[in-house]
Amino acid sequence: MDFSFSPDQRLLRDSARAFLDEHAKPAAVRLLWDDPRGESEALWKEMAQLGWLGLALPEAYGGSGLGMLEAAILLHELGRAGYPGPYLPTLLAAAAIGAAGSEGQKARWLPAIATGEARASVALLDAELDWRPEATAMRAEKTGAGFALSGRKHFVPWAHVARVLLVPARAPEGLTLFLVDPGAGGLTQTPAQAMDPGTRWSTMTFERTPVGADAVLGAPGQAGPLLDALLRQGAVGAAAEMLGAARRCLDLSVEYAKVREQFGQPIGSFQAIRHKCAEMLLEVENSHSAVYYAAWALDARSEDHELAASVAKAYVGDAARRVCGESIQVHGGIGFTWEYDLHIYFKRAKALEAQYGDGDYHRELIVRRVAA
């Protein structure tokens, strides 16, 4: 039993950190905030070259064949940088295509994703904002050429840059996953202005949007287990990103508490501040244990992998919100300014807390597993 990273994993983390420290500085992140597209094509291409986009894809499709653990290491660094862009939704869509796609679907999308040509996303939430796959309300009617999708999906991340969307809908056969072209007819996108400028969401309205029979991912009516797996990966991925955001806020707070002086002494010498920092560290370290345990569990398909994913999302969601929030408190007024960087991470953590199942959703899953 070994909880430490392998030399390769450490190398991945260190090189990712070095790369992002140079190419995704807070100033660069802020430029993207003001950009209508919200993410950088150049950065995306570099990420492809570094092998990040194909990280967990099979080697036969241009990937590196690594797992959730390596993805979590990267997402931690992306969270630490406050990187805005569709890395996580692309990873999730690609994983689902890799797991359930036909030869044709895999050949069409996986190499394109690995080389950075195509971004992808997932459209999971209907109007009731219920994360349970069985709560899906979108309808898929049979047509001559395939299906017609009708309904509305909310809070679809990065839909405006995605080349393909994963959309669950109710077909006559039951819950079915579709690969949808965001430019398809009868599909309108309405961008939403959210609190975190680094998270771009859209509402997607489907009015008898035609999709071909070959757009079905996996077997019709069999999308439940696929969606469960996707949500678990999303939960762990989001937890890793939140952990990175929280760690950054803690680091900034500790640095600040050493140099900011009031009453003739550094504020870090006041117990009220020092103890807050100690509590933040505790939550960050526990979150670290939760994220990497869960990532390992998904890769190893351990007995408790479903539980571990929910534990990570529920725990880290709360912890990251508190740590990022307390970092503003430690900084006082300057922490409340737009110019200071804390709110980059504070907002990102909050946005992720609500995605891929919020705390309440995962706590309910936990109770079902342990108490039926």
Binding site: M1, K258, S269, I273, A278, N286, S289, A300, R363, E364
Partner: protein, 401 residues
Amino acid sequence: MDLNYSPEDRAFRAEVRRWLETNVPKQELPALEDRKAWHRRLYEAGYVGMLWPKAYGGWGTTPMRQAIVQDEMARVGAPPPINGLGIGFIGPTIIVHGTDWQKQRYLKKMLTAEEIWCQLYSEPNAGSDLASLKTRAEDQGDHFLVNGQKIWTSAGPIADWGILLARTDSKVAKHRGISCLLLNMRQPGVEVRPLKQITGHALFSEVFMTNARADRRDLIGAVGQGWEIAQTTLGYERGANSLGRVTRYAAAFHQLVRATRELRRGGRPLIEDPAVRAKMGRMFAELEVQRYAALRVLSALQNGESPGAASSITKLSYTEFEKRYYETALEILGPWGQLMSSREEFEDVDTSSGEPGTWATAFLWARAGTIYSGSSEIQKNIIGERVLGLPKEVRADRLKA
């Protein structure tokens, strides 16, 4: 990173499980003599003193194996070994700082619980600020004459020996004038008065020393080295692995699940109440995180890393968790959780002391962990200063020094 247990570890776990199945006593063991006999069986099976070197009667195995034994014992609710302070902290301190004579004389009997040990550190006016202790030990050549009072001494009423911190020099800075001695508790100059705890039991005590005698050969290290030696003890005390504890919490959770199926409110079992479910989901998530954290510490120990000041994070984490845990359990159980003797199956739980009890005793015991071995506030000071490198606080005693 690979969190699977190795085939050897799994085989060892199976072996421990089998041994426990045939050997765990079927009934509680209230008498000290029965506890000593059980302890002895555990020792002979190789399950006590697992990290101690073979030369001193230990088994020289790995932290992993020790954790597996603690985990399996917790799983079946086996009575824990006794003499925990001795074996966990005092013995290892003697191993590091003691003389050959001391090692020969004390260690084996400590391991086998032939002699029970206590820790004579805290005083009425020296708790968190331990270095301000006043108990005096006067150098009389071949022995020291000890006068003063200790308090909160766990196992005091049953102890044969104690590890004592006393002042040998009152003219130097407070943490330089302290020495560490081994004190025979069974002598006329030592009086132990049991103190009743909030659980109703008297597991700790006051100890009055009036011209008590400690032989010179029972001095640990040099005169004046006591503070440094105390740091070793406290390091062991805080760095202990928590996997077994977490397994005891998990056993309690399963009792809670059982209770929420049997108890009803508003025409349905508690477990169907969404408010109860939300609380239970949060409890279990936190519990699992404690388990992952314990595995992480274990893996670091196994890789030969010493946790150092970071062990304060572990101690702070699980003791604060334990308070929240039993608070939530009692919220869910209502007055059922407050019963001091159990009538129903679901009312029995293992408390953090390792002793069986009820939800109420577990809830009460949970208040102790954040006070002993350095309170939560002291842990946060340590984390702030030594892990995060924040500036030291301005303190009146430092201004004077």
